[in-house]
């Protein structure tokens, strides 16, 4: 039954999807887009890979999540377009304000390094580090091939490490991994 399958899926994916969105948007946007994502999942419940037709057991998150991340990703992109530049600016301002106290101090460097990557590289790195996906799953979430993801991820990680290494080297007194590790 569609309803039972959807409920089973929601139990498994809602929290990871919420985190996915929180990592990429303001709290308000994350909530809006989460609702939107669930609507799409309900509508496309028959297309969710890895979701068996029985409602017997809850689906395996590893099977269903990558595809659901892909849906959330699309919904977020839609919301961004819909809100337009003005709202994006507002959101950016809010976000900078929110992040200023703790993140800028503690993880500012890392976020700056992430921001220096291209959008596709950044998304691959985030999916790897924060969502904990394997290249095969990242490929499913981003509509790419595992091979292309592996290559992209490898390069993006190297770039990120270099960026962070350079910064650390430039500021000797800064709390960091000791010395310049470079590569």
């Amino acid at each position: 039954m569609r309803r039972a399958r959807f409920e089973g899926l929601a139990q498994v994916v809602v929290e990871p999807l919420h985190r996915y969105l929180l990592r990429r948007a303001s709290t308000e946007t994350a909530e809006d887009v989460l609702s939107e994502t669930l609507l799409v999942l309900w509508r496309r419940i028959d297309d969710v890979p890895g979701l068996g037709d029985g409602s017997a057991s809850p689906p395996d998150p590893d099977d269903v999540l990558p595809w659901c991340y892909g849906v959330a990703r699309g919904c977020l992109a839609n919301a961004r377009r819909a809100d337009g530049r003005r709202l994006r600016l507002v959101e950016r301002l809010i976000r900078t304000q929110q992040r200023a106290p703790e993140e800028a101090a503690e993880h500012g460097e890392l976020h700056a390094a992430l921001a220096s990557l291209g959008a596709a590289d950044r998304e691959v790195v985030r999916l790897w580090a924060w969502e904990g996906l394997a290249p095969r799953q990242i490929a499913e979430a981003t509509g790419s091939t595992p091979n292309a993801v592996s290559i992209r991820l490898h390069r993006a990680k190297a770039r990120l490490a270099a960026q962070l290494g350079r910064k650390n080297g430039g500021r000797p007194g800064h709390k960091s991994d000791e010395g310049r590790s470079g590569q």
Partner: protein, 214 residues
């Protein structure tokens, strides 16, 4: 810095951990989802829209060129440029279209939509008063980015029976028309403005027809 160190640093900076957002209420979200979408018939897997309100977002994307028949856009746009009654505009175009072999649907009014979207207020007879070209139509086909309307009623400025809206945007998902649904579309100076096209209900249709005396 090796992979593990990089991963550790990234994880420490995970915004989902450092931000204090309340966890989502799964049951409430499920409930809201099931209440929003009426589960009558299984919808098309690829159907780009979910609820009526979303249509407005997509339709608002129609900032487009109004071209009659194909290849005669300039003349028509110059015609429509007056912004007046425009009663003869589409008429002329319809005749010209007969000579145009390039058009997929002979005599069809062609609209080209570009990207961009916004949230729109529901249209009213007053809000569309300023447009020389207004019609009520039903989507008869959606092929890729090309949406074909059957014109149910011309409210202003046209006679073509078919309108083809071609979205040449690289973001086709911005256009969320649904086959068989009814829309009101307004254009001015050859352009369907942002919020110039909206989904309508039977009540809306009656209201508009009354207001325009059609």
């Amino acid at each position: 810095m090796n992979d593990d160190e990089l991963l550790a640093r990234l994880k420490a900076a995970d915004p989902a951990l450092t931000r204090s957002a309340p966890p989502p209420d799964i049951d409430q979200l499920v409930e809201a989802t099931l209440n929003t979408v009426t589960p009558t018939a299984p919808l098309d897997a690829g159907a780009p829209s979910v609820r009526p309100r979303r249509h407005l977002l997509g339709l608002a994307a129609a900032v487009g060129l109004l071209v009659l028949g194909g290849g005669i856009g300039v003349g028509v746009m110059a015609n429509g440029g007056g912004g007046g009654g425009g009663g003869g505009t589409a008429n002329t175009g319809g005749n010209q279209a007969k000579h145009s072999g390039s058009s997929a649907v002979a005599g069809a009014l062609r609209l080209t939509a570009e990207g961009g979207s916004a949230k729109c207020a529901a249209p009213t007879p007053d809000s569309l008063r300023g447009y020389p070209t207004v019609f009520l139509g039903t989507v008869t086909s959606i092929k890729g980015t090309v949406v074909t309307f059957r014109v149910d009623h011309w409210l202003k400025g046209g006679t073509a029976r078919t309108v083809v809206l071609d979205s040449d945007t690289s973001r086709p998902e911005a256009l969320t028309f649904i086959d068989g649904d009814h829309y009101i579309v307004a254009a001015k100076d050859g352009v369907v403005p942002v919020c110039g096209a909206n989904g309508v209900t039977a009540d809306d249709i009656a209201k508009f027809r009354k207001a325009y005396g059609k």
